[in-house]
């Protein structure tokens, strides 16, 4: 709570009993000066809990730092060499990229469709908004608990529906070729509401003049959607897609709880591999190296996206 201290100080010194004007301005200049004081609390937590771990993590990636209580030694680039030759690093990176691909596309498109439909002016706005956005408010464990039950092999809703349609049951979480798709479906259900709201807000702030003019010219709804509304949303789509890709790359929570990365590692994302080697396998140093390799990937993706985005503008 060091951070609220400045506010507290002000509370005591601020109000009535005002001294003469001149003195007060001088005092205030002494107290607040050039504005650095305002930034200090942030700099403190930023330094402690962002800069420190970034630097510390980089250092650890060059050591054999362990969860067990023993001394740490410097190992140079050993961890990085090991990581480049570690098949599990590559497969988990592959899983992460695959998840990002199969989750981001529907997360953007379905969100857009939802927003367009809701924006079209049908009655019951709040009800639609609630149905689509409510899952986003659920803690991840609640989502996985519900979906574990939906995917349950014998009694779950998914297989019961298939059964009712006369189809064979599917091993939603036990079949290596299906599991990641099941995770993606859960993720779309859970988080699409966020993108949906972003689109909805964008739609609501679009100028309607073009649309009105085109309508007067006799352009149909479909035509106007494609040649006016969607082009107007291009910037938003770029932003939503960019945020979505970055969010999907960071997947861990739902996969860890739902499948622990199984079956046979087929859903294990790279962040879970970091957890597995770092905490389950004690090798904090090696886990840091893998984190940094992944960080490099994220930086590259962000820069590429930024560039694409700038060009579009």
């Amino acid at each position: 709570m060091t951070t609220t201290a400045p506010l507290g100080t002000e509370e005591q010194t601020g109000p009535p009993a005002a001294p003469a004007d001149g003195r007060r301005t001088a005092l205030s200049r002494v107290r607040t000066g050039n504005g650095l004081v305002f930034v200090l609390p942030f700099l403190l937590v930023f330094g402690l809990f962002m800069v420190w771990p970034i630097v510390q993590g980089l250092w650890m990636s060059f050591t054999d730092s362990s969860l067990a209580l023993r001394d740490t030694t410097f190992v140079g680039f050993d961890n990085y060499t090991e990581a480049f030759g570690d098949a599990d690093v590559w497969s988990s990176l592959g899983n992460t990229v695959f998840f990002t691909a199969v989750s981001s596309v529907p997360l953007v498109l379905i969100a857009l469709a939802m927003a367009l439909l809701v924006h079209s002016g049908l009655a019951g706005q709040w009800a639609w908004r609630l149905s689509f956005f409510a899952p986003y408010l659920l803690p991840v464990t609640v989502v996985t608990m519900i979906w574990t039950w939906l995917y349950q092999p014998e009694l779950g809703m998914a297989n019961q529906l298939l059964d009712a349609l006369g189809m064979e049951p599917v091993g939603w979480l036990s079949d290596e070729s299906v599991a990641m798709w099941s995770v993606a479906a859960l993720t779309v259900w859970w988080t699409v509401g966020f993108n949906f709201l972003l689109y909805l807000a964008a739609l609501q702030s679009l100028p309607t003049t073009f649309d009105e003019a085109a309508a007067l010219d006799g352009a149909g709804a479909w035509r106007r959607l494609w040649s006016i509304t969607l082009p107007q949303l291009r910037r938003t789509t770029g932003l939503v897609a960019m945020l979505q890709v970055l969010a999907s790359l960071k997947v861990f929570d739902q996969i860890y709880i739902l499948t622990k990365g199984g079956p046979n590692g087929s859903t294990r994302p790279v962040l879970e591999y970091v957890y597995d080697v770092g905490f389950t396998g004690y090798r904090l140093g090696y886990a840091s190296a893998v984190s940094y390799l992944f960080f490099a990937l994220i930086v590259v993706v962000s820069l590429v996206q930024l560039r694409l985005f700038r060009r579009e503008d």
């Binding site: 506010l7 930034v39 809701v118 803690p139 991840v140 039950w149 609501q204």
Partner: protein, 299 residues
């Protein structure tokens, strides 16, 4: 935060927001019917998991395991809810979630607002460099820092404390950036007037800038609260003591002697879902605005 001011501000927005644009569909019957059908199908798909969970939660474990689940076969019972509440775990975790999310929100908003104002109005040396570092830090996903952060927490002897859960979460460069952009847009003349009256910088900030910024600060607060409420990875890593766990962590980690029981599992999931859903129903518009204003980085 004063609720009335924000409400007033929201009301001033054009009413079009809630109504949507009828233009998009024109007045043809067919498009309207198609759109309506698509919406209903999507909404049903999105609500179905909830419905399935609710049905499961009000049946007995025996009925679920013997007859297979059907809403019409099993007898209605609230046993699962009663057992969950008696055990008390969910209540403890809900309390922890509230305490932790509230403190994270409070500290983040205080720290970020002050910093944003300092960055916006400050003249100190290194301001641009520090701002640049802050903006660059937006790119660093906190998930990548869990290993060194855990190491740091063992060093500080803070593993399994509330402080360890809360403090790393209060660093929010994105929020600083959003607030700074907002402050940049406030005309300086307003503050000059107060300064001429002899107000200190803190007083200017508190009585001139903050009141003008209520909507954005509320938006940031809501956004941070939802994020902290649903945060999983860090609290999961830094708490081992079940009495310190948040809802998502406790539910995912601590098991029951009896093994998996679906009715109880769904009952606790729904109980854990309830708080934010209720909050959403009460403050729907403000939460929607918050996501819209902060979600894309304030654009």
């Amino acid at each position: 935060m004063s609720a009335t001011a924000t409400t007033l501000r929201t009301r001033r927005r054009p009413p079009r927001e809630a109504a949507g644009s009828p233009l998009l569909l024109g007045h043809g019957r067919l498009p309207r019917a198609l759109a309506g059908t698509a919406l209903v199908v999507l909404a049903v798909l999105w609500l179905l998991p909830f419905v399935w969970a609710v049905i499961t939660s009000v049946q007995s474990e025996e009925d679920i395991n013997t007859t297979g689940l059907s809403p019409f076969k099993g007898a209605f019972t609230l046993d699962a809810y009663q057992q969950i509440l008696e055990r008390g775990n969910v209540t403890v975790w809900a309390f922890n979630s509230f305490l932790i999310s509230a403190l994270v929100t409070l500290i983040t908003v205080a720290v970020s607002t002050l910093a944003a104002y300092g960055f916006s109005r400050g003249t100190f040396r290194g301001r641009r460099a520090l701002l640049g570092v802050t903006v660059a830090a937006i790119m660093v996903p906190p998930q990548l820092l869990v290993v060194p952060l855990f190491d740091q927490m063992t060093l500080f002897n803070m593993v399994d404390t509330y402080a360890a859960v809360i403090l790393p979460q209060v660093v929010a460069p994105m929020m600083v950036f959003i607030l700074k952009r907002f402050f940049d847009g406030i005309p300086k003349e307003l503050e000059e007037a107060a300064r001429i009256d002899g107000a200190s910088e803190f007083r200017v900030f508190r009585s001139v800038v903050l009141p003008l910024s209520r909507p954005i600060v509320a938006a940031v607060a809501i956004f941070v609260f939802i994020g902290a409420w649903n945060n999983f990875m860090w609290p999961f890593i830094v708490t081992n003591d079940p009495d310190l766990m948040t809802l998502p962590v406790g539910l995912a980690t601590v098991k029951d002697a009896y093994g998996i029981q679906y009715a109880q599992s769904m009952a606790s999931a729904l109980l854990a879902a309830l708080p934010l859903i209720v909050v959403f129903l009460l403050f729907q518009r403000r939460i929607v605005n918050s996501v819209a204003t902060t979600g894309l980085g304030g654009s």
